[in-house]
Structure formats: structure tokens, C-alpha cells
């Protein structure tokens, strides 16, 4: 079994167990106490964990399908396994211990096939990575808000996070995604002070990423 196959297997198992952990927390979280992290709102966090696990599962399946792809792709899959793997530790308590460990292991294994090349790919697209992180910040800020605002934040964050990675398409599309992802939400919630700051940085990091992105 190759290292990629082992990573994909661990990632798939972690993703499936993560979905089960999320559903368990969503349905029985109130009664599980510390096992589900003693959360105030285990239902929402459980469903959020299911979504995180689905992302990790998709990463693991991609790894199985596209073995041997470039270091940039490998870095993206590694991040898709690692970030849900780490975030889950804050959402459903002990239920995440096994899926989380499996996902972190899978991410490490994915990157370790070509660590230098992956490191170089990340460094080359660092501004894009920062922009994606800022997209996640937009979503994080609005997690507790009303449903319409959460929806706007999710779309905005998604647009910001994805913009640097569509740079190989028409540049105008990436620019439009950055502007649409930052300005309306910042204008809608200017009084929070945080969202305008995120918007400003997103535009700076995003345009830097677009300017520096070259052929993969």
C-alpha cells in the first residue's frame, strides 16, 4: 500500500467517524456532557462538525482519485484534511479524539510524500493562503449571527477564500470575487470594526496573490 493510499484510507475513516461524531453530538450532545465537550449549543456545533468532516472526506477521496498530482494540489488536500482535523477538537469534545487523530495523521502523510515541494508550493502561494484564512475569518465572525447574516458571511467568505485560486482563469473574475466577497458584507456590518478590517486585509492579500500568481 502506498503512502497516499494509507493517507486516503485514514482520511476516509476519519471523515466518516467525524460525520458520526457530529451527528451524535447534534442529537445527544445535551446528555453526553464532557464526551461532547459540554457545549452550550451542541446541535449547531454537531452539524458544523458534520460539515467539517464532509470537507475532510472529500479531500481523502480526491487523494485516492488523483494520486501523483502536483505539490500545490497536495498542499490543498493536506490543508483540507488538517484544518477540519484540528477544528473538530473545539466542537464536539472527546467524540473527536479518534477522527481528529486520523485526519491529522492523513494530512501529515499526504504532505510527507514530498515535503520540500509542498513547502515550496505553499510559500509561492502564501498570499493566497492568507487570503483564504481571511475568508475563514469572515465566516467565523458571523457564526452566532442571524441566519440571513450567516448566509451572507458564508458566501462572502467563500468568495474571498476561493478568489486567489481561480487566478488562472480570467483575472477579472477573481477581482470580482474579491470585491463581492469583501465590500457588501463589510458595508453591512461596518459597526463591528472587525469586518472592515478583514475586508481591507483581504483586498490587500488577495490582490497580492493575484499579482504574484504564476502558472502552476
Amino acid at each position: 500500500m502506498s503512502r497516499d493510499q494509507a493517507a486516503a484510507l485514514a482520511g476516509t475513516a476519519g471523515g466518516l467517524l467525524g460525520v458520526a461524531a457530529g451527528l451524535t453530538a447534534a442529537v445527544w450532545g445535551d446528555r453526553l456532557g464532557a464526551w461532547a465537550g459540554d457545549k452550550q449549543d451542541p446541535t449547531t456545533l454537531g452539524l458544523f462538525t458534520v460539515a467539517l468532516s464532509a470537507v475532510a472526506l472529500a479531500g481523502a477521496l480526491l487523494l485516492l482519485r488523483d494520486r501523483g498530482a502536483g505539490p500545490g494540489w497536495r498542499a490543498a488536500v493536506g490543508a483540507g484534511l488538517l484544518l477540519p482535523g484540528l477544528l473538530g477538537f473545539t466542537t464536539v469534545g472527546r467524540l473527536w479524539w479518534i477522527p481528529g487523530a486520523l485526519l491529522v495523521l492523513a494530512a501529515g502523510s499526504t504532505v510527507c510524500v514530498a515535503p520540500r515541494a509542498v513547502g515550496r508550493a505553499v510559500r509561492d502561494r502564501w498570499a493566497g493562503v492568507l487570503t483564504a484564512a481571511l475568508g475563514a475569518c469572515l465566516v467565523l465572525v458571523a457564526v452566532d449571527a442571524s441566519a440571513p447574516l450567516v448566509a451572507v458571511a458564508a458566501v462572502s467568505g467563500g468568495l474571498v477564500a476561493a478568489a486567489p485560486w481561480v487566478a488562472r482563469g480570467p483575472r477579472r473574475l477573481a477581482t470580482a470575487m474579491l470585491l463581492a466577497g469583501t465590500l457588501p458584507f463589510a458595508a453591512l456590518t461596518w459597526w463591528t470594526l472587525v469586518t472592515p478590517a478583514i475586508a481591507l486585509l483581504s483586498l490587500t492579500a488577495g490582490f497580492t496573490a493575484l499579482r504574484t500568481s504564476g502558472p502552476d
Partner: protein
């Protein structure tokens, strides 16, 4: 080289923004009243039976939002209101005057909610003098359903500590509000003249400063401040940043900054009292009773206070409870000291038509610049015994 430095600076800035974003999430800069601590405001009309009566009662005003009540439900025809004296604010309320005023407020909501459900509540205040925790049993009998604007206002009634507009309140409105007093033991008078408002405002500022300079009172006040979303969700009571009547931008900035200390919170309160609360008060109201240390008078005065607050809410006006003067009067009394604030307050009340009655509670009225915000609440299920 320049590019690397720029990327490095960007990385630092993004890291800082990430931490700020987490703080914004953790302190609910967006969606401040979306948590379970505010569910009571969203679901208070859901239950058509006696439990729905309790759901309305827990939304009443109380000192520092301590919610000093417990309820006992016997079948579908009797609700007992009990005092939870463990929630009294120590040296701030040494004689439980404010606690009983809050219980009176809950009793008023209870009565309004019972009427709205076609139930007539027969309320007996303190039926067993040897059992002071039993505040008032209410026997419920079937009656004609009575909806009132006061009942409808229960879910919108919030203490508004923000600035009020420089617009007078109609005399007819004040007359209508005063007419809400239906028990001879409690009445309300208004301080409307510029001189009267200035004198009362000065006294309030001095009393606020005295409270903050009294370490025990300051500490026991601060114990009811909930400075984080976690604390709000855990306790579901107390005072919050969102309830301070600040602008949205200032509230956000305060939530993003490190938690406030007791002394800076005290300084903030005195400053707000001077620059906002007294500076923009259009009218002061004083609830009067014959004896402010008589629990029956406190409960009756509390019912009137809640009724006024609901009527004010129904008219789109704002109200803020301001009890620092009476808190200092009680503090001096409990310490056996010469009264500092009692005589000037009594003189002020007499000038406004107090007729020798004692001031039980004080508040200001006005047209709000911005709406009041919800305060955290323990749901009825949590206070049912």
C-alpha cells in the same frame, strides 16, 4: 527583499486579525442576543397555560437583572411566587427593598399574563409573615380573556441606558402614567422642572460616585456584571455590555478589547451617569410609598413600577431605573451612619408633590436615541420549583 518584508507584515496582520476575529466570535459582536440566554424573550407567548404565565413573569425588571424569583406551580390553578434571597445584592440592597421591588415587577407580569390567558389571579401578598420567602400565591380561576397593550409590551420592555432626545414628554402622558397607580399604597410623582432635574441629577451623580468609592458596594455590584458571552450563557442574568445603551461601534470596540476591570467599570458608570443618564433625562419619576421598608409597600410599588415601564414601552418611550440614591440611603442606614442622601431626596420629593411619602424607586423617562437591548434571562423552567 521588499516583497518578503511585505508578505511578512501581511502575515503578522492576518494573524492579528485572526485573533481579533476569534474574539469577535467569542464575545458575539454579531448576534449578541442570539444565544440560549435570550430564548425567554423569543418564546414567552408559546405556552397558552399557566407555564406561559411564568414565561411572562421571568421577563420582568429586577435590580441588576438579578431575577430574585422562584415559582411553584400547583396543578393548573395556583402559582406561588417565592423570593430567592440568595440573589439579593448584599450591601447594595441590605434591606431587600430592591429585591422586593423586582418581585413586585414579576407579580405584575404574572397578573397581566394570567388575564391574557383567561385566568383571574387572586393574589395575596405575604400571606404567612413567618415565612418571608413566600411572597405571593396567586390562585387562578377561569375568567374572560383580557388582552392589554401592557401585556403585549412585555416582550419589548427593556431598560434603556442610552441617551434620550431633547424632547419633552407630554403632560397628558405623565398624567396617564400616574393614573396607573391603582393601590393607595403606591404612587408616582414627576420631576419635570429644570431646577428639579438638575438637583436630582446632581444627587444621582454624587450617589453613583459614593457607591463606587464604597469598596463593598462596588464589588457586589461588579459581581453581577457579565463581561463575556460565556458568562452570559452560563448565568443568564446580570448586566451586560449590550445593555449599556452605547452605540453599536462603541459596543463592538468594548467587546473586542480585554475584559473591563471593576474600577474602570465604576469610572465608566459614573461618567455615563454624568454625561448621558442625567444629562439627557427629560423627566424623572419617583415611586412613593408610605414606608419603603415595608415589604408589602415594596411589592406594591414594584407592581406599579413595572406597569409604568410597560406603558412607557407601549408608547415607544424609554425608561431607565436609577436607584443609586436609595442604595446609598440604605447603606448609610445599615451602617448606622448619619443620612447623607435621605434628607435631600426627601426634600426634592416634597417639592415635586411627594406629600411626606418615601421614595421607593427612581427612574428617568425620555424619547430614546436608540432602542433598548434584551437582557439575559433564566427561562421559566429554571426557576420553577
Amino acid at each position: 527583499m521588499l516583497h518578503s518584508a511585505g508578505i511578512g507584515a501581511l502575515t503578522v496582520a492576518v494573524t492579528g486579525t485572526g485573533m481579533l476575529s476569534y474574539r469577535a466570535y467569542d464575545n458575539r459582536v454579531l448576534g449578541a442576543d442570539g444565544g440560549a440566554a435570550f430564548d425567554a424573550w423569543r418564546h414567552w407567548r408559546d405556552d397558552a397555560g399557566p407555564r406561559g404565565v411564568l414565561a411572562a413573569a421571568v421577563l420582568a425588571a429586577s435590580p441588576h437583572n438579578t431575577q430574585p424569583w422562584l415559582f411553584h406551580l400547583s396543578g393548573d390553578d395556583r402559582i406561588e411566587l417565592h423570593a430567592d434571597l440568595s440573589r439579593r445584592i448584599g450591601s447594595v440592597d441590605p434591606y431587600a427593598c430592591e429585591t422586593h421591588v423586582g418581585l413586585g415587577c414579576a407579580l405584575e407580569n404574572l397578573a397581566l399574563a394570567a388575564h391574557a390567558r383567561g385566568l383571574e389571579p387572586r393574589i395575596t401578598l405575604r400571606p404567612e409573615p413567618g415565612r418571608p420567602s413566600l411572597v405571593a400565591p396567586a390562585d387562578l380561576t377561569k375568567a374572560t380573556q383580557q388582552h392589554s397593550p401592557l401585556y403585549d409590551a412585555i416582550g419589548y420592555r427593556h431598560t434603556n441606558r442610552g441617551p434620550y432626545r431633547d424632547r419633552p414628554i407630554d403632560t397628558a402622558v405623565l398624567t396617564d402614567l400616574a393614573a396607573l397607580a391603582d393601590d393607595p399604597r403606591a404612587s408616582v410623582i414627576w420631576v419635570t422642572t429644570r431646577a428639579g432635574r438638575d438637583d436630582l441629577g446632581d444627587l444621582m451623580i454624587r450617589a453613583a460616585r459614593a457607591v463606587t468609592e464604597d469598596e463593598q458596594q462596588s464589588r457586589e455590584n461588579f459581581a453581577w456584571f457579565r463581561g463575556s458571552a460565556d458568562a452570559i450563557e452560563k448565568h443568564k442574568d446580570g448586566l451586560t455590555l449590550d445593555g449599556q445603551g452605547l452605540s453599536a461601534v462603541v459596543t463592538s470596540a468594548a467587546k473586542l478589547m480585554p475584559a473591563t476591570s471593576r474600577t474602570s467599570g465604576d469610572a465608566f458608570w459614573v461618567k455615563q451617569t454624568r454625561t448621558v443618564h442625567t444629562a439627557t433625562a427629560t423627566v424623572y419619576g419617583l415611586v412613593l410609598v408610605p414606608d419603603r421598608y415595608d415589604p408589602l409597600h415594596q411589592l406594591t410599588g414594584g407592581r406599579l413600577l413595572e406597569r409604568i415601564h410597560l406603558a412607557v414601552t407601549a408608547r415607544g418611550l424609554a425608561l431607565q431605573h436609577m436607584n443609586q440614591i436609595t442604595e446609598r440611603i440604605d447603606r448609610d442606614r445599615s451602617q448606622g451612619r448619619d443620612p447623607v442622601f435621605g434628607p435631600p431626596l426627601a426634600a426634592l420629593a416634597d417639592r415635586a408633590g411627594g406629600d411626606g411619602r418615601q421614595v421607593l424607586a427612581a427612574f428617568r423617562l425620555g424619547h430614546p436615541v436608540r432602542p433598548g437591548r434584551r437582557s439575559p434571562r433564566r427561562p421559566a423552567t429554571q426557576v420553577l420549583r
